[in-house]
Amino acid sequence: MRLSPDAIIFWQSGFFKINATLVFTWVIMAVLTAGSVLITSRLSSGLTRSRWQNVLEMIVTAIKEQIREVGLADPEIYLPFLGTIFLFVAASALFTILPGFEPPTGSLSTTAALALLVFAAVPLFGIRKQGMRSYLKTYMEPTAVMLPFNIIGEISRTLALAVRLFGNMMSGGMIAGILLTITPFFFPAVMTLLGLLTGMVQAYIFTILAAVYISAATRAQKHSRHREEDAST
């Protein structure tokens, strides 16, 4: 039984290969980009606008509001990264309703890549916000003894992020496959529906967790600064 679309390889030349994960990722990229281009080419800044523009604005503002609610003061900075995570994961889950579509997020390689990106983005946004020194100092909070634990915590949560998404996405497809072999026709459809829901939930969770991590990295400095201020006074 196949667990990951990575196993479907269309073309391979040594280390390089084109598997289903990449192909379906490109499909999603193409659809998202084309849709965006199509809709935003006729954007209206007036009071009347097309329903598609309305949908897009709704999605974008909703993501923005979510990021703000997590605690990031300037959502515009984080919107492209976090918003794209959400859109990509949600689109992967949504497209599962298309027959023959394998969600790229059902591949551990994809979720690992996403998790690694979040893993890289957290310190990057942290450093960008508060500077290298200040950011690195947060790893030695509250004391230098905590440095290894902090590093382990950082890595483990990235791993958890990747595995959580992979497990959920993969399980959705897996359950559908299993049910299809046991009870054909009706249940798989219901399970696909359920998979759609869990996919959306996972997209939300992944994005929110990434936002929380970034928020923690950018906010840590604030805490330390507050502490410094308290000490000085």
Partner: protein, 297 residues
């Protein structure tokens, strides 16, 4: 569960590419549109607020003006009412005065009509009285009365002294002037001779007087000599009476139009009857030779 590291790397690149694409084609334009709209809405709200403020200001201004207008209107209304009142009083006054004038005129007309009527009445009464008197006297008159009158005439002439006779005679009378004697009835030969002699003696005349009968004289005689006339006739009496009556009525008419003065009218009517006893000595006639005199014998 193997992890394909090539796929991981490729997916990472793919994702970063997707982030760039999304940023380029989705987030930026959408956020820009939203910002533009918000800005626009804000501007419109600002404009609306400004307009509202302006409207409020204008409303206040309008209310202020409306208040002023109301006040002015009330003042104007009051002034108009006051003016109308005074105009009404003025018009009433005018109407009253014109009514007074009309009434006075009407009263004057009425009085004039009444006095004209009265005058007319008096005139007719007078004429009637005179015609009756004339008729009565004419009826009474006769040769007998005539002869009595002539006797009286002659007796009076005889009683006159020289001075009086000269006074009666015209100053510039020629001795051959013709003398005319008019009587109401024809005289007897004897009467004619007596009168002729008396007259000739009176005026120192040579010519015999000429006798004519004139019925209009009623009774009595009239003597004309050199353009002068001496008469004693009923007709003359009546004429004198009429003249004196009219002389008495004329001033009385102006002075006493009211009924309270009616007594004066009566007095004036009575006047001629008294004065008839003493008719005037001379009167103007229309005869061409000039001034004529009439003696009251």
């Amino acid at each position: 569960m193997p992890i394909d590291w090539f796929t991981v790397a490729a997916q990472a690149i793919n994702f970063l590419l997707l982030v760039w694409l999304m940023k380029r084609f989705l987030y930026k334009p959408v956020l820009r549109a939203i910002d533009a709209r918000e800005k626009r809405i804000e501007e419109q709200l600002g404009d609306a607020k400004a307009l509202k403020m302006e409207a409020l200001k204008e409303k206040e201004e309008f209310q202020r003006k409306s208040g002023i207008f109301d006040r002015e209107r009330t003042e104007l209304m009051n002034a108009a009412a006051e003016k109308a009142k005074s105009e009404k009083i003025h018009l009433l006054e005018e109407a009253r005065s014109s009514a007074e004038i009309l009434r006075a005129k009407w009263r004057e007309d009425l009085e004039r009509d009444a006095s004209r009527l009265e005058e007319d009445f008096q005139r007719r009464v007078r004429e009637e009285v005179f015609s009756i008197v004339r008729k009565t006297l004419s009826d009474l008159a006769g040769e007998e009365l005539e002869s009595k009158i002539i006797d009286l005439f002659l007796r009076r002439l005889g009683k006159m002294d020289e001075e009086e006779r000269k006074g009666l005679a015209p100053k510039t009378m020629a001795p051959d002037a013709s003398v005319r004697l008019r009587t109401a009835f024809s005289l007897t030969e004897e009467q004619r001779n007596t009168i002729g002699q008396e007259v000739k003696k009176l005026f120192s005349l040579k010519k015999e007087p000429e006798f004519t009968v004139e019925k209009n004289l009623v009774a009595g005689m009239e003597l004309s000599v050199s353009g002068q006339k001496i008469s004693w006739t009923i007709d003359d009496y009546l004429l004198s009476l009429r003249e004196s009556v009219e002389d008495l009525i004329k001033p009385g008419k102006k002075a006493s139009p009211s009924p309270a003065d009616g007594g004066k009218e009566d007095a004036s009517l009575k006047g001629p009857s008294r004065s008839a006893k003493n008719p005037p000595k001379k009167r103007q006639t229309s005869d061409p030779p000039g001034e004529e005199e009439k003696d009251n014998l």
